[in-house]
């Protein structure tokens, strides 16, 4: 369903994604793990047409997203790392807007919005504006929205960030059910190793832009002879803390970037 071959993305000198290759089969739940700044989000952005790869090949359901952009976009749903709802619109309006943008016919749109909002327990709050929603509700709405156009692939970029254990648990239960009932391929990133261990069929660990290990959770644990996935992850990526915050030079560079393109 997803094929990535020798994918590279550089920002100036910095190689954010450095020659990665992997495949995700249809109906699989694939977890992409890595420390902060390892290149997870950059990879997702390239897979979802938001960023042009420097080099390498990407195939989504047999389509090259760089060439057949809109056909490829129709085939996936995405939940971004940070919220992407319009907070002035209601839950229902956000869903409806999405349905229109994805060319879902009106009748089907109305049916599916109702079904998904009920499934994610948001139907009672459908006429409230998003700014009155809690973090967990927003997340659930974003996943419901991502599924509205019956995508073949669902991208989840750290969907449980900032959620309480209850919401996280519920969210993954939903995702697993959908994966089983609708055969949606799921590509996810997370920092919670227990979640990856629980839901993922296969895992790739990325560090410094390179994939350092791939396999099922059990295989990864075996490879590193550790008891937990967290242990395996630390063995693979080292235990030093990644500094993602920008120094003053970076900030200046960012400021300059605003003006020249």
């Amino acid at each position: 369903m997803i094929r990535v071959h020798d994918l590279v993305k550089t920002f100036g000198e910095f190689r954010a994604v450095d020659n990665i290759s992997f495949q995700v089969e249809k109906g699989e739940i694939f977890a992409f793990l890595g420390p902060n700044g390892a290149g997870k989000t950059t990879t997702i952005k390239m897979l979802t047409t938001l960023l042009k790869p420097t080099s390498g090949r990407v195939e989504l359901d047999g389509l090259n997203p760089a060439v057949k952009q809109n056909e490829a976009r129709q085939r996936f749903g995405i939940v971004f790392q940070d919220p992407s709802l319009d907070s002035e619109l209601t839950g229902y309006e956000n869903m409806d807007l999405h349905g229109v943008l994805y060319h879902v016919p009106r009748k089907i749109r109305i049916e599916r919005i109702e079904r998904l909002l009920k499934l994610f327990e948001l139907w009672e709050r459908r006429n409230d504006r998003i700014k009155q929603f809690s973090g967990g509700m927003k997340r659930r709405l974003e996943i419901a929205r991502g599924l509205l156009h019956t995508p073949k692939i669902l991208f989840l970029d750290e969907p449980t960030l900032g959620l309480d254990p209850q919401s996280r648990n519920q969210l993954w239960t939903h995702v697993k059910n959908l994966n089983e009932s609708e055969q949606v391929t799921v590509f996810l990133t997370t920092h919670y190793m227990d979640e990856a261990d629980r839901v993922a069929d296969r895992i790739a660990v990325i560090d410094h832009g390179r994939i350092v290990a791939q396999g099922s959770p059990a295989e990864l644990k075996e490879q590193t002879s550790s008891d937990s996935l967290e242990q395996a992850f630390l063995t693979l990526t080292g235990s030093s803390i990644r500094d993602e915050s920008a120094g003053s030079a970076d900030q200046l560079r960012q400021f300059a970037k605003m003006w020249k393109r």
């Binding site: 309006e93 229109v100 060319h103 003006w259 393109r261």
Partner: protein, 248 residues
């Protein structure tokens, strides 16, 4: 058509729901109209130009349309900051469609805001000289809205964060307004100011509006119309080019 309509509708809904903002945005035009209109009125009258209120009202209307449309374009920055932009950029819809929907929505909002200010002007004592020319005035308002909505989109596509916003405000939007002849007649200006005002796109919008509403025109409606149409085409082109290049 669906995507354009739904994005247009979104702009309208956001506008209608921010009632406090609507009220706040009427404050500034009101101040210009009352403080300058009545404050400078006697001097203007004595120098033989007629009623300053009649003169400045089209300028204040143009100002409102300018501010509303350019900000609705720059609101792209807000959408970028609050994430909604990504939702529209991964949708299976050509970027140009998204830009058209947004710009039309912004232009509609600017028109509504302009009409509100016209009503305020009428209450303050402004009277259009020729009712038959009022549709032409709406045409000019729409052109101003499209020209600056597209410019706002172009700027919003390039800016990466909020810090640049204040700069744009002080070094672009306010000069466009103050150097447009919205507040003073374009005749007998010092040479340098004369040149600057004639490159300011808003000068033609203000002049067209003033010609239609108050019967005073500097360039003539034909020139005003052609300049604004050409600029609309150019800015829409630049805006959609820059918008299509956004990467997140």
């Amino acid at each position: 058509m669906g995507p354009i309509y739904i994005l247009w509708l979104r702009e309208l809904k956001r506008y209608v729901r921010s009632r406090a903002q609507i009220a706040a945005s009427l404050g500034q035009p009101l101040l210009y109209l009352l403080a300058l209109g009545f404050g400078l009125g006697p001097i203007f009258q004595k120098s033989g130009h007629g009623s300053y209120l009649q003169f400045i009202a089209p300028g204040v209307i143009a100002m409102t349309v300018l501010f509303t449309s350019i900000f609705s374009g720059i609101a792209l920055l807000w959408d970028r900051q609050f994430g909604f932009l990504k939702e529209t950029l991964v949708a299976p819809v050509p970027r140009i469609t998204i830009m058209i929907g947004r710009t039309l929505g912004g232009a509609t909002v600017a028109m509504i805001q302009g009409v509100l200010v016209i009503i305020v002007c009428l209450i303050a004592g402004f009277r259009p000289v020729n009712l038959a020319a009022v549709p032409l005035a709406f045409g000019f308002m729409l052109l101003i809205a499209v020209v600056f909505g597209a410019l706002g989109t172009a700027i919003g596509s390039v800016l990466q964060d909020m810090q640049g916003f204040q700069l744009i405000m002080n070094f672009l939007v306010l000069p466009i307004f103050f150097l447009s002849g919205a507040l003073f007649p374009l005749t007998n200006l010092p040479k340098a100011l004369g040149i600057v005002t004639s490159i300011d796109p808003l000068s033609y919008g203000v002049d067209g509006l003033r010609g239609a509403l108050a019967g005073i025109s500097h360039f003539g409606p034909a020139i005003d119309l052609s300049v604004l149409c050409i600029l609309a085409a150019i800015f829409l082109g630049i805006g959609s080019f820059l918008f299509s290049r956004i990467q997140l």
